[in-house]
Subunit: 190 residues, 2 copies
């Protein structure tokens, strides 16, 4: 998606350890109008699959998921990263290792919100190694719901998670796919 | 806001310890169309104050903040609850005690996203004792930005946070104010 690629080139910052900071528009400050444009693109890509619900994971996935939900007229369900006092009843859970934060957590969704008659569109802001995405796919599988596919804002292809999932047969649509990245430059997949 | 009050009566669940669960539409599963209606109401309440940015805190505040941002055409900035690898540079921070999770954390916002020429609308999904809201107000104050006021989805008035802040001179607009709550009933402020 041209608009997103241009924004990454303009405002993205590269840090050592393959870290791309897009805090100014995606995951700290949120450019809501850009999110809505991304929502329209995701609608174009997935409307024929007739998703009934969007599944994402807290925290920064919630913004783009809500914007896509607004455009497509769909409810959003976000997985929680740890059990809280307010989370009760039967849950689906999946263990995830976070590359960004260097920790492990359980991704949790209450069973009553994910049924086998649902058609799920998974959404997240970033895809690198694929830990969070694999957790969301695992939870969808556990529920017996149909998985329409995954819509990602930014994929760091050189970290391999996206292409591994594609090879496994999953539909992964990333709005910007970074093939190569170093201090001075960002190269997108054509 | 009638629509929200009716939804709380229909789908809210009360648990011991003054816990109101609204996981089915507000902070686990998100009814995006309800969020957009809430966005319109917040726009009606605050448009004359000409806010330039919405400030909220992760995680569940992000959904309603994004919806309000979509309706009002405003960017969203969400405070993070702990320093992560990806958060660098100068930050504003404020210590917060979470009543829900029973822990303490630092609320953090990068300074470059909050300037003194900004007009801030603070948004959150819940207001009870007011810990998170006081943190967001404190960060706004530190930045020198103008605070237009605070828009909250659900206020549990019997826990006192909202009325204390009103007595201190802050404008707090809650779309549903619960005056009293016990196992069998919920009473809204008229």
């Amino acid at each position: 998606m041209k608009l997103l690629e241009e924004r990454i080139l303009k405002d993205g910052e590269i840090f050592p350890g393959n870290i791309l900071k897009v805090s100014s528009f995606l995951n700290h400050q949120i450019d809501v109008s850009l999110m809505l444009e991304m929502g329209k693109e995701v609608q174009r890509l997935f409307k024929e699959d007739k998703p009934t619900k969007i599944l994402t994971v807290e925290a920064s996935g919630i913004a783009i998921a809500t914007a896509i939900g607004a455009v497509m007229g769909l409810p959003v369900l976000f997985a929680k990263k740890h059990a809280s006092k307010n989370l009760s009843g039967d849950v689906y859970s999946s263990p995830v290792h976070s590359y960004t934060h260097g920790n492990d957590y359980n991704m949790i969704v209450e069973k009553r919100f994910l049924n086998s008659d649902e058609r799920i569109l998974i959404v997240d802001d970033f895809l690198a190694v694929g830990g969070a995405l694999c957790g969301l796919i695992d939870i969808t599988r556990q529920s017996g719901a149909h998985l329409c596919g995954c819509a990602i804002a930014i994929e760091k292809a050189f970290q391999g998670g996206g292409d591994k999932l594609r090879a496994d047969g999953y539909r992964i649509e990333s709005l910007a796919v970074i093939e190569k990245m170093d201090e001075g430059s960002i190269e997108f997949r054509i």
